[in-house]
Symmetry: C3
Subunit: 267 residues, 3 copies
């Protein structure tokens, strides 16, 4: 059985190791897979984004544990979610939103059955004391229904919205900035469908104008700003052999405009 | 068999990979678990702290390899330690101190039997040439006694001391600063026992006064300084959704005072 | 079967997790081993260096996947290389050069058989869409010959050259700077053979002179600059309990001189 881990714990502490120890003590034959421990501290949307980019590629039945949990110890619930493809164990703070988005039928349970937790549960480390043991017990055959009562109102947020103005200009935003400094937008190639084929496509972001789409980084000169459809199927702004985030001083949430025109709106 | 790795090697070099290759060449069915490779370079106390926070959660029989080894190649010994719960393989520089602290009976051996090492041992990378192969051979059944002679005087240091002044004020220190900037102190909740229940508990650290304990981060406002009992059972100073280390410009070793009073000593 | 991963993807994105998911979906019993995901972005030489330092220690038959791929989506080929010891899957950009250097007979194949790829191949993430599935299918028994046609002209670069001037002075360079700030040079102890035994060996780097070789860091005082033969068999410049890179403001490619003399050339 595979259990993946996605946390904001970093790698200078014992937190990740303690979780792994708890899991292997209960389910010794688990295949542990680190997705990321470098989620920005407390950044639920970052975690949701990363999880949604990785989880769909795992085998059916994989258990994904997510611990980005700024509300630990408060009244926020701990939950598990089961889809036809996978099981998720996480705080009920929206971190699963993007995975559930297109998952079809999902069953949510509150992790209230303390028999599946460690005997002593701290107020500040439910990753070790609740999420890890619950995931491990599921891996060795615990019944999903036994975790606790059904949850019918899990916290779920929507991806950032895309709008279109009266002139037909799409308005999206920078959704994620990756390790390379690429700006991943929320403008999906399906939405823009027709436009992506058009050579006169225009993009404006952080005060800069980009004309046309590249297919790959290599089609541009080193240091040149470019736009392309990235591996997640969304429009990305990048710099060949460089960082668009640094070049443009861009941030998550920055507005991105896309339109078709013979005349540039830039400047 | 599980072998965990705790090093200060970082992740930009071949060092960790070489150790993993050596282990898997000798013991192909080992389950390798990274605890941390981001121990501060040469910081034996940091490594001891992290190891002690993770090791107790692993299954009985786990082998923990620790390579934080500023004295590599010098006369410092290489050792293994066996407790009823686990086996540790490490340089004899105190890095196991906090794990041994409450381990009951421990047997130490010097890793002098070169039959368990790689054929060629470098002067600067005993992680690859001694510690990894010794751990792997233990994993496939080597006799602990064969590693080398008993060690009766391993290097062990104590946790930083807690004292109490004539007015009853506990004096401890910042023991560890975690990834979130939380200041973990050496003031254990058991020691302070009675005081932790008292609403008029006062804490002073880095020139700042904190009145009362929180149970969770969520009980305070974002950005607010707070004190709570952390997941290790020790008093922690934290900032909700922020970094206490940055806010207070605090460092490991900074003095922490705890007392009960109707009047604040701050200011 | 063991599959190792070496990438420049960092750990804040879904990229590594997606690759792991793809591999485990095809080859569920694979033992995944991270060598590094902290290769400098697009730095093929860094990746080649790290891979060559780790791969030789893995068991025969290990599959190494390397994704440092600034030319992704361009006409650069995707290849696999099979040696008597291991199989490598990587872009054809020279990243395998240092592993092939002394590997004896190598068979290269172009990864043109799309039956081994994911059904949809993006233009920007061949790690997930080509390299991971090819490695996984090899792990479950795919025939190496089926991957695609033979490649007879893979991109291979040589290690940086060592020369010797008319006075017998060896001229090499800083080849790699490690996590500790040690300057690993390309001057192999075999080349310098005789000289390394001689107490009057002199080294000049970044304007500083070092007389004699240490055997270990511990032979020098904390903060002192020293030279020694490192774990890769090459001359290294280091600072005990410190960073030579920072002390000398040294960079990869900086010239390193080694000579024997009774008089120092420094100053």
């Amino acid at each position: 059985m595979i259990i993946t881990l996605t946390t904001d714990f970093g790698q200078t502490d014992a937190y990740v190791g303690a979780m792994k120890g708890v899991i292997l003590s209960i389910a010794p034959h688990t295949q542990l897979v680190d997705i990321s421990h470098e989620i920005a501290p407390g950044d639920v949307r970052h975690a949701a984004y990363v999880l949604a980019g990785a989880a769909p590629f795992f085998p059916t039945g994989t258990i994904h544990v997510v611990v980005v949990d700024p509300g630990v110890g408060s009244s926020r619930r701990a939950i598990a979610a089961r889809t036809p493809q996978a099981t998720f164990v996480a705080p009920d703070n929206g971190v699963l939103s993007l995975c559930m988005h297109e998952s079809g039928q999902v069953e949510y349970r509150q992790l209230s059955n303390s028999r599946y937790h460690l005997p002593q549960v701290s107020c500040t480390f439910h990753g070790r004391d609740i999420f890890a043991p619950v995931a491990a017990r599921l891996a060795v055959g615990a019944d999903f229904k036994d975790l606790g009562p059904l949850v019918t109102d899990p916290v779920l947020f929507s991806p950032p919205p895309v709008t279109r103005d009266s002139l037909g200009c799409w308005i999206g935003q920078v959704w994620h900035i990756d390790h390379f400094g690429n700006l991943v937008t929320n403008l999906k190639s399906e939405i823009l469908n027709f436009e992506f084929q058009i050579p006169t496509l225009h993009i404006k972001v952080a005060g800069r104008h980009i004309a046309g789409l590249a297919r790959t980084f290599a089609e541009r000169e080193p240091g040149e700003l470019l736009a392309l459809v990235g591996s997640s199927g969304c429009l990305e702004i990048a710099v060949r052999d460089g960082s668009a985030a640094r070049l443009l001083d861009a941030h998550t949430g920055d507005k991105v405009l896309v339109w078709i025109s013979d005349e540039s709106k830039s400047g």
